[in-house]
């Protein structure tokens, strides 16, 4: 029986374009700043986790989402057209998530 670890590739998508493809298990702790129409988001990579640290948007929904979960729920900053997601979105057990 195989217990091969699936690659945990995370994509950062700004305004529809993949600007970073990251393997969190190999990333050092750092911050990534992304700008859209003059507004900034600061993404933080910390001990194998990734989350939105700061966002210049009215609702801060992306910050409230917390750390990116493997269950397939992406971090989305809609006002600033920014998405952080696992490239196999939906999680390991399903093809896609509704909700």
């Amino acid at each position: 029986m195989l217990f091969r670890q699936k690659p945990q590739t995370v994509e950062i998508i700004s305004d529809g374009k993949v600007i970073y493809t990251l393997d969190l298990s190999r990333e050092r702790n750092r911050e990534i700043t992304v700008e859209f129409e003059g507004r900034q988001n600061i993404i933080c990579i910390e001990n194998g986790d990734i989350y939105m640290k700061e966002a210049e948007c009215p609702d801060h929904t992306c910050m409230k989402t917390g750390r990116l979960s493997k269950a397939g729920v992406p971090i989305v900053c809609l006002p600033n057209h920014l998405i952080i997601r696992y490239s196999n979105s939906g999680g390991d057990d399903v093809d896609i998530t509704a909700g």
Binding site: I13, D15, G16, K17, V18, C57, P58, D59, T61, C62, K64, T65, G66, S69, A71, G72, V73, P74, I75, V76, L78, P79, H81, I83, G90, G91, D93, V94, D95, I96, T97, A98, G99
Partner: protein, 364 residues
């Protein structure tokens, strides 16, 4: 035992709003929220190919698993942009914008728009007024269109409610007249219809296997390339994970949840974006997530919101009288109610074994 309030608070705290791609973009931004797309890697080894678009205040992804994907995806993308232009509330060129600023005058619109408004009126009547496209000014007053949330006072809500009730709209062929003071937003139906249109465009271009994710609204075209059912996760209203898994082919799975967009007021209460058209306030009738599974996106989209607003008893009654679709309701006292057609296709995840599941049949 958790009380309903506890569960709501827990979910309010724990929930990732992200699934909720239903989120508002820049509400007052007059440019349409459409961007360049990202195209996945070339389809050399039968890898799925996808396009994504910011449209209708949400993030849409179309993934094709077989067929002549290039043309199909291009056409799907054009279709998203076309519908966005038609129904945007902020684009001055859109038909909805023209209707909202007509000050009581008649506007001639496309047959698609006229049909959708007529459908909205039909659903308004079938659901006893639980879904009203003319609620838009109240949704905006709460700040759900901009993210600048506030609790409107009673007088404001009462005054705004006077200009709602979409049954007052006149639809005569392609001539649509809104009473002066009324404005509409087709957002509660637009993603569902877009899914129907995209499914058709893909099928017309030879695609038999595809998944559409329109801000959390899922529409499955056909089955997986190997002929098996798609496995669709059902987002938990209690946490960041999935509560259950559904196996479907060629169906829409559309959820309305209070966790999608909400804020906590200074009074400590959670206020979500699904408003009861009768009160102009967040609908609190015991349901925290309503999912409709059926073949028509437009209908599933309309029903998911309506069922959320109506509450369990009326929702079950409506399901029994209408038929033709399946439904999953999750209640604030920790129950999951599914219609009997889902009995064999739904699997609950272990961590939610404390949720009591009930199966309802078409007979009372």
């Amino acid at each position: 035992m958790l009380t309903g309030d506890d569960l709501i608070r827990k979910s309010a705290l724990a929930i990732a709003a992200a699934v909720l791609l239903l989120f508002t973009g820049c509400g007052n931004d007059s440019t349409p929220a459409v961007s360049d797309s990202v195209k996945a890697k070339a389809n050399i080894s039968g890898e799925p190919q996808s396009i994504s678009e910011f449209a209708m205040d949400t993030y849409m992804t179309v993934t094709v698993y077989d067929g002549e994907t290039e043309t199909a995806l291009e056409k799907a993308q054009e279709e998203i942009k076309r519908l966005e232009k038609l129904w945007s509330v902020t684009d001055e060129e859109s038909e909805v914008y023209k209707l909202d600023h007509a000050a009581g005058e008649t506007v001639t619109v496309s047959s698609e728009t006229a049909e959708l408004i007529a459908f909205a009126q039909e659903m308004f009547s079938k659901t006893d007024g639980s879904l009203d496209i003319s609620l838009y000014p109240i949704v905006a007053e709460w700040g759900f269109t901009t993210g600048e949330y506030k609790i409107p006072d009673n007088e404001t809500i009462t005054a705004l409610l006077k200009n709602t009730d979409c049954s007052k709209i006149t639809v005569d062929g392609c001539d649509v007249t809104l009473p002066a003071g009324m404005s509409i937003d087709l957002g509660s139906l637009g993603k569902g219809v877009t899914g129907d249109r995209l499914s058709q465009v893909l099928k017309d271009n030879g695609v038999t296997s595809a998944l559409l994710d329109l801000g959390g609204n899922i529409q499955a075209v056909g089955s997986k390339p190997d002929g098996s059912d798609w496995k669709i996760g059902l987002k938990s209203p209690f946490g960041k994970d999935n509560i259950a898994k559904l196996e479907v082919s060629d169906k829409c799975v559309i959820t309305s949840g209070g966790y999608e967009r909400y804020f906590v007021g200074e009074d400590g209460e959670t206020y979500w974006h699904i408003l009861d058209p009768k009160t102009g306030r967040p609908a609190r009738n015991g349901i925290i997530s309503a999912t409709i599974i059926g073949s028509e996106g437009r209908l599933c989209d309309a029903l998911s919101t309506s069922m959320f607003v109506m509450g369990e008893e009326k929702a079950v009654e409506l399901w029994r009288s209408m038929g033709g679709f399946d439904m999953i309701l999750i209640t604030d006292d920790g129950r999951l109610i599914m219609t009997e057609g889902l009995k064999d296709s739904l699997t609950m995840y272990d961590q939610y074994s404390y949720i009591k599941t009930e199966v309802i049949s078409d007979k009372a």
